[in-house]
Amino acid sequence: MCTDKLAIGLGKTVAVAVILVWSLFPITFILMSSFKPGQDIFAVPPKFVFSPTIQHYVELWNGWGVFFGGLLNSTIITAGATVLAITTSTAAGYVYSRYSSRMLNASVMFLIIVRLIPPIVVTLPLFPIINAIGLNDTHIVLMVLYATFFVSLGTVLMRTFIDQIPRELDEAAQIDGAGRLTILRRVIVPLAAPGILAVAVFVVVFAWNEFLFAFIFTATRAKTAPLVISEMIGSIDGVDWGVLFAASTVQLIPVLLFVIFMNRYLVAGLTAGATKG
C-alpha cells in the first residue's frame, strides 16, 4: 500500500516534470539565449551558466528601429481591436441574453457558422477593397479585422455571462425609469466584468500575436511587431540569432505576463466559449 502510494507519487512527479519542460523549456531557453554572449548561443552542449549581456538588446535598439515602431503599432492596434470587440459584443450579448425569438436564435447560429470561415479566405477580396477605399496599411484595418474575427465568440460569451445576472436587476432599474442603454451601462457592464475580461484576453492575445492579416494588409506604417520579427527570421545572417531572441523576448514578455495575471478569465472564457459557442 505504502509503496503503491510512493509509486503513484513518483509517477505524478515525473509527469509534472515532463509537462513543465514541454511547456516552459522553449520559452525559457529563448529568454535566456537573448542574454547570452554571441558565441554561447550556439554552444554544444547548451550553456545554462553564462555571464549575461545586453549586447543583443543594444544591437536591436541601434539596428532595428523599425521593430520598436512595430511594437507601438501592435499596441495601438491591440487596444483598438479590444475596445471595438468588447463594446460591440457586450451590446449584442445583452440582447441575446434578454430577448429570444426564432429570428434571434437563427442569428446566433449565423454568428457561429461565420466562425467556420477561414480568415485567409477573406484576404483575397478584401485586399482590393481595402485598397480601393484607401485603408491599406492603416491601423484601422487590422483593428476591424481582429475585432470582427472575435465578435461572434465574444457575443456568445457575453450572452453566457449576462445570462447569470438576474433579470430582476434590469427590471428594477427599468421601474426606476432607466433606458436600455443606461441599464446596459449601469447594471450589466459592472456585473458582467469577468466576461468582458475573458473576451479581452482572447482579443488581446490574438491581436498582439497575429501574423497573416498583418503580413497581407500592412507595408510600413501599420507594420506590427510579429511581422518585423518574421522579417528578421528571413534576413538573418547566421550570427544575428541573438538579436532575434532579444526582439522575441520584448514582444513576448508583456503578453505572457498578461496571460499569467488574467489566467482565471482565460480559463473561464475558454470553458464558456467551448461549451456555448
Binding site: 507601438l72 485598397n131 484601422i140 528571413g234
Partner: protein, 432 residues
C-alpha cells in the same frame, strides 16, 4: 472619418502626445527628421550602401541635405518581387523606390512603374552614358525606361583556399568534374572541428541548377524562349547535383538553404565552395564577419571537360534596377534618391562594399581595380546572360522548375522523369 484619424497617427505624431514609453523611443536615432523615403529591396542592396555604419554610410550627406530618413524593408529575392508588384498594384503605396530584377518586367508589370525618361531629361543622372548600355536595355520595356540599373550580379565560383590547402588541394578546379571531385574531398571535419560540406547552394533560386545545366551546354529557358533547348544537358547537370547531395557534398539542409545562408556558411568555414555574385567577395572576406578573411577566392564557374576549350562557359548575370511605383507619393524625392545612388561616387562606394558596379568608369578606378576579382569578373561577364527571360508566368515557371529540381536532387524522382516533367509543365505557361 475615423480612417483619417488613424492614418495620421505616425510614430512622430505619437511622440508629441507624451505617450508612455515615448521618451524611450525618442532616443532612437531614426525619429528626428522630416521626410521618410521607404525603400523595398533585398538586404544586400541596403548593405552595400553602408547604411547604419556611421562614416561608411554613403548616403549620409544626402539624408541631411534632403532632411529625409531612408527606411528599408527587405525580403529575399522572390518574396521581394511578389511584394513589390503587389504594392505597385494598389491605389497608392508608401514605397517610394523598389528594386526589380531584370527577368521580371513584362509588359503588364512594366506598366505599373513610372517611365523614367522624362525624369532623366529634366534632372539628368551624372554621366548617364557611363552606365552600361546593355543593362539600361534590360530595364527598357516597350521603348520606355522603367528602371535605373543599380547592381549587376555575375555568378562566380567561390572557394575557401584555407580549406582546400588543408585537404592538400593546391589549385581550384578547372572543369566541372574536378569541382565535384574536390567538393567530395572537402566534405570532412576540419582541424578547427567544424563539419565542412563540399558546397553550399540555395535551393529556392533557378540560378544554380541553370549554371550546372549550362556547364554541359544546356539551359532552362533561353533568350529565344526555347524551353530546355538541350534536355540531356539539364539531365547531366541535375545528375551531378544529385550525386553531390547523396555523398553529402551538398549539405542535408539543401532544401531549406537560402541565399544568405550561402554567405554565412562560407564565412564560417562550414562549406568549401559556393556560387555567388563576384561582388560578394568583399563581404565574404570581411574581417568582422568572416573567419577566413582574405582566404575566400573567386574564379569562373568551370565548364564540363567535354566542352572545355570548345565553347565558353555562359555564366549567369542578373541585373537589378531601381524603380518608382507609378502609384507612389513624392516621386521627386524618389528620383533624387535614385540619382544619388547612381552617381559616380556612390557607385564606386557600393562597388567597394561588394556591389557589382553598373558604370564602366568604375572599372577604371584605381581603388576598385585593386579588387582581386574585378578582372575575373570582367572576363566572365563577356559570355554571361540572364537565368531566363521575362514572361508573364515566369514566377510560376520558376517555381515548377525548382520543385522538379529539388525532387531530382533529393532523390525522390528519377532525373529523366523530372526533366520531362519540367518540359510538360512549363510549356503551357510559355504559350499563355
Amino acid at each position: 472619418m475615423s480612417d483619417k484619424v488613424f492614418t495620421n497617427i505616425t510614430r512622430r505624431g505619437f511622440l508629441g502626445t507624451s505617450l508612455g514609453g515615448a521618451a524611450m523611443l525618442a532616443a532612437g536615432p531614426s525619429f528626428a527628421v522630416g521626410k521618410t523615403l521607404n525603400v523595398l529591396s533585398h538586404k544586400v542592396h541596403q548593405t552595400v550602401l553602408g547604411s547604419g555604419s556611421g562614416d561608411g554610410d554613403l548616403l549620409k550627406d544626402w539624408r541631411t541635405g534632403n532632411d529625409a530618413e531612408i527606411v528599408w524593408t527587405t525580403f529575399d529575392s522572390n518574396p521581394l518581387q511578389d511584394r513589390l508588384f503587389r504594392e505597385a498594384s494598389l491605389n497608392t503605396t508608401d514605397f517610394n523606390v523598389g528594386y526589380i530584377v531584370d527577368n521580371r518586367p513584362t509588359k503588364q508589370i512594366a506598366a505599373m512603374f513610372e517611365p523614367l525618361d522624362s525624369y532623366l531629361e529634366k534632372d539628368a543622372i551624372e554621366d548617364f552614358g557611363d552606365i552600361a548600355p546593355g543593362l539600361v536595355q534590360g530595364m527598357t520595356v516597350d521603348g520606355k525606361l522603367i528602371g535605373i540599373p543599380v547592381r549587376h550580379a555575375t555568378q562566380g565560383l567561390f572557394y575557401n583556399e584555407a580549406l582546400l590547402e588543408e585537404q592538400g588541394i593546391s589549385a581550384p578546379p578547372t572543369t566541372l568534374e574536378e569541382l565535384v571531385e574536390q567538393a567530395q574531398k572537402l566534405t570532412f571535419t576540419s582541424k578547427a572541428g567544424t563539419p565542412v560540406a563540399g558546397m553550399v547552394l540555395a535551393s529556392d533560386l533557378a540560378v544554380f541548377p541553370v549554371m550546372f545545366a549550362r556547364a554541359f551546354g544546356g539551359d532552362f529557358i533561353n533568350a529565344k524562349f526555347e524551353l530546355l533547348p538541350n534536355p540531356e544537358a539539364m539531365e547531366k547537370g541535375l545528375t551531378v547535383l544529385r550525386k553531390m547531395f547523396e555523398s553529402g557534398a551538398l549539405p542535408r539542409s539543401y532544401a531549406t538553404t537560402k541565399n544568405d545562408d550561402q554567405v554565412t556558411w562560407l564565412q564560417q568555414g562550414r562549406a568549401a565552395f559556393t556560387v555567388l555574385p563576384f561582388a560578394r567577395n568583399a563581404q565574404l572576406n570581411n574581417k568582422e564577419q568572416s573567419k577566413f578573411p582574405g582566404k575566400i577566392k573567386a574564379i569562373e564557374f568551370p565548364i564540363s571537360s567535354d566542352l572545355k576549350g570548345k565553347v565558353p562557359m555562359s555564366s549567369i548575370v542578373e541585373a537589378w534596377g531601381m524603380v518608382i511605383p507609378a502609384n507612389s507619393k513624392d516621386k521627386e524625392l524618389s528620383w533624387k534618391f535614385i540619382k544619388e545612388v547612381s552617381s559616380k561616387r556612390v557607385t564606386l562606394g557600393m562597388a567597394r562594399n561588394g556591389n557589382g558596379p553598373v558604370r564602366v568608369s568604375t572599372y577604371a578606378d584605381q581603388s576598385f581595380v585593386n579588387n582581386p576579382v574585378a578582372a575575373v569578373e570582367a572576363e566572365v561577364l563577356k559570355n554571361a546572360r540572364g537565368a531566363f527571360p521575362p514572361f508573364p508566368e515566369a514566377a510560376r515557371a520558376q517555381s515548377i522548375f525548382l520543385e522538379e529540381v529539388q525532387l531530382a536532387v533529393l532523390g525522390r524522382k528519377e532525373i529523366k522523369e523530372a526533366v520531362a516533367s519540367i518540359a510538360t509543365r512549363v510549356k503551357p505557361l510559355l504559350q499563355a
